[in-house]
């Protein structure tokens, strides 16, 4: 009788082990941080050389081309693991591939960030009909008038391969912002607009890591 009981227990234990084994071989959902997908294959460049950008519309108190170079280099040093270098303004609007190859001579998988920049301000006026009194004993001539200054930053960016001298990526970025304060200095607007430009550029250039769900299989 005892032996029979033992046999039943052994059978149950083995069946339980089989069940547990089956459970442990099921799919496993994981959340994994995946690197950003950029137009450039991973590891395709180890150095970024940022040139001075050509200023299409120079301002009296600000050189957007120089400021953009400095800003991008600083931000790239934070976000990019490789080397970030500065370079002067290239000669001409579209230097030939031989120029870029010569500039990158001796560098390890270098790309150039180059192009042109334009920062423009424009006063925009509009009437707000609901605020314009038709008849009043007071001077209301300017009450319905809204004035804003719109600053627009346009960057024509090119990523040029140091190895081949050919452009790998070209894109025109345009950011604008309205300010109620008409006297807002260009430096202030440039600072805000270049941050928006960076937010648009970096995912395209470096990719943005994201957390994704995936399912691993065990059988």
């Amino acid at each position: 009788m005892k032996t029979r009981g033992f046999a039943v227990l052994a059978a149950l234990a083995l069946a339980a082990a089989a069940g547990a084994s089956c459970r442990s071989s099921g799919p496993v959902d994981i959340r994994v941080s995946l690197p950003g997908v950029s137009p450039f294959p991973a590891g395709s460049f180890a150095e970024i050389i940022v040139t001075i950008f050509r200023s299409e519309a120079p301002l009296p108190d600000l050189d957007p081309g120089l400021e953009l170079q400095s800003y991008l280099a600083t931000e790239l040093r934070r976000a990019f693991k490789g080397t970030v270098l500065l370079a002067p303004l290239p000669d001409g609007a579209a230097p030939p591939p031989s120029f870029w190859r010569a500039e990158a001579a001796g560098r390890d998988r270098a790309v150039f960030l180059t192009g042109s920049v334009r920062l423009e301000g424009q006063v925009r006026k509009a009437l707000q009909p609901k605020n314009v009194p038709v008849d009043s004993p007071f001077d209301t001539s300017h009450r319905g008038l809204v004035e804003q200054r719109r600053w627009t930053l346009t960057v024509e960016l090119a990523v040029v391969s140091g190895e081949s001298g050919e452009p790998l990526f070209r894109k025109t970025f345009r950011e604008d912002r309205d300010y109620i304060d008409l006297e807002k200095p260009a430096e202030f607007a440039f600072s805000e607009l270049s941050a928006s430009f960076r937010d648009a550029l970096f995912p395209a250039l470096l990719g943005t890591p994201t957390i994704e769900k995936r399912t691993l299989l065990r059988r």
Binding site: A7, L14, C22, S25, P35, F169, T215, L216, R219
Partner: protein
């Protein structure tokens, strides 16, 4: 007495080895999963490659290896492994979902290239 012991023992052994039908090669698969859960993706990929050497028809190993390649930023290799996995197990829901998520992500990053 012994006769009474054998039938349940044999029965339970049959249950153990057939109910789950787990091939021995899955040891490498599970080792890879364990490594991946510890964020050891290089090691995980090695286990899954070993699993594929033992069983080249393992859709699970191809699927897992594709995820490892995604993690390592090797998009072309990931795509190839997912497509192998889907070719071997076209109805597998998990593989299909992984592949669709991968392709959507790839398109969102590369589709904007001018």
């Amino acid at each position: 007495m012994r006769r009474q012991i054998f039938p349940p023992l044999v029965l339970s052994l049959i249950i153990a080895f057939t109910a789950c039908a787990r091939p021995l090669a899955t040891g490498a698969l599970t080792a890879g999963v364990a490594a991946a859960r510890q964020d050891g993706w290089e090691e995980a990929a090695r286990h899954w490659r070993a699993a594929l050497e033992r069983d080249p028809g393992s859709a699970a190993a191809h699927n897992n290896l594709a995820i490892a390649y995604e993690k390592l930023g090797a998009w072309e290799e990931a795509r190839r492994e997912y497509e192998e996995a889907l070719g071997l197990a076209p109805e597998d829901r998990a593989i299909k979902e992984n592949y669709e998520a991968f392709m959507a992500r790839l398109a969102s990053g590369r589709g904007k290239r001018p």
